[in-house]
C-alpha cells in the first residue's frame, strides 16, 4: 500500500515538474532587466508610435521613463525652491 502510494506520488511530482519546466515565472529569478537608457536619449517627436516594436519598447520602459520624468520634475522643483530661498535670503539682507 505504502509502496503504491509513494510510486503514485513520485510519478505525480515528476509530471507536475515536467509541466512547469518552462514556466515564465521560473525565469524571473535570474531575469535580465531592460536597458532603457537608449529610449531616454531618443527624440520622441521622431518616433513612429504606430510601430509595434516602438509600442512594445515604450510599454517595457514606460515605468522607467516615468520614474525619470518624476525625478526631473522634482529636481526642477528643488531648483525652483532653492532660487526662492536665495531670493528670500537676499530680501532679509536688505
Amino acid at each position: 500500500m505504502n509502496m503504491t502510494t509513494s510510486i503514485l506520488l513520485s510519478t505525480l511530482l515528476t509530471t507536475t515538474l515536467a509541466a512547469q519546466a518552462h514556466d515564465p515565472k521560473e525565469h524571473k529569478k535570474d531575469a535580465e532587466n531592460p536597458d532603457c537608457s537608449e529610449m531616454k536619449n531618443m527624440d520622441h517627436s521622431k518616433m513612429d508610435m504606430d510601430d509595434p516594436v516602438m509600442k512594445a519598447m515604450m510599454k517595457k520602459c514606460k515605468k522607467d521613463m516615468h520614474h525619470d520624468n518624476e525625478n526631473n520634475e522634482s529636481d526642477s522643483d528643488h531648483a525652483h525652491d532653492d532660487n526662492q530661498n536665495k531670493d528670500e535670503h537676499a530680501e532679509h539682507k536688505h
Binding site: 519546466a21 531575469a31 535580465e32 536597458d35 509595434p52 512594445a56 519598447m57 517595457k60
Partner: protein, 194 residues
C-alpha cells in the same frame, strides 16, 4: 522480346536485389553518420524537399491570429525566444554559436533577413505561408534536425507570441532586442539599486 511474366520476374528480382543491397549497406555501417560530413547533394535535395513539402501540407489550414502585431505578443514572444532559441537561431550582434557551427544542417539565423543559408525553398518571411510554417515548426519540431517540438510544453498562444516576435526580429537593433526580450521589470532595477 520479353514476355509479360518474364518482365515481372525480372522486375521482382531487381526489387529484391535493391532491398538486399540497401539492407547490406545499412548493416555494414559504411554510411558516414557524423554531422561533420555533408550529405551528397542528391540526398540533401531529397531530405529538404521531403521536409518542405511535408510542412507546407501540414501547415496549410492553420489560422493566423489577427493581433500578431500587438506589443504584448512581441514582449511575451521575445522573452521566450531569448530563452529557448538564441543558442541555435542567434540574436542581433551574433553571427554564430557552437550550435550553428556544429549542427548539420546549420540552423537558420533568424535575426538576419539576409541569411544566405541552404534554406532555399523557404517562403518570403512576411507571407502568410511563412507565418504558418513558423508556427507549425515551433509546435511540432522537425525529426532528426535538432529542432524540438515545443507544442507539448507550450500552449498555442505562447507559440503565436514567438511567431509574432520572429516577424520583427530581423529588423531589431541590439538595444531594441535587449529591451524586448528582457524578462525583468524596470521596477526591479529601482528596487535593487536604490
Amino acid at each position: 522480346m520479353l514476355s509479360i511474366s518474364a518482365f515481372f520476374k525480372s522486375l521482382l528480382i531487381i526489387v529484391i536485389a535493391a532491398f538486399l543491397a540497401g539492407g547490406l549497406f545499412i548493416y555494414s555501417g559504411l554510411y558516414p553518420i557524423g554531422a561533420d560530413t555533408q550529405h551528397h547533394p542528391i540526398t540533401y535535395w531529397l531530405l529538404e524537399t521531403l521536409r518542405e513539402k511535408s510542412i507546407a501540407r501540414a501547415a496549410k489550414g492553420i489560422k493566423i491570429p489577427t493581433d500578431l502585431e500587438s506589443a504584448d505578443r512581441l514582449l511575451a514572444g521575445g522573452a521566450d525566444y531569448n530563452d529557448m532559441c538564441t543558442g541555435c537561431h542567434l540574436k542581433p550582434g551574433r553571427t554564430d554559436s557552437d550550435f550553428t557551427i556544429g549542427l548539420y544542417p546549420s540552423p537558420r539565423n533568424l535575426s538576419s533577413s539576409a541569411d544566405g543559408s541552404i534554406h532555399s525553398q523557404i517562403a518570403e518571411p512576411t507571407s502568410n505561408e511563412a507565418i504558418r510554417r513558423q508556427f507549425w515548426i515551433i509546435k511540432h519540431g522537425i525529426k532528426a534536425s535538432g529542432m524540438p517540438a515545443w507544442g507539448p510544453t507550450h500552449n498555442e498562444e505562447r507559440i503565436w507570441n514567438m511567431v509574432a516576435f520572429l516577424q520583427k526580429l530581423p529588423s531589431l537593433s541590439k538595444s531594441e532586442y535587449q529591451i524586448l526580450t528582457a524578462r525583468g521589470d524596470v521596477n526591479d532595477t529601482h528596487g535593487t539599486s536604490h
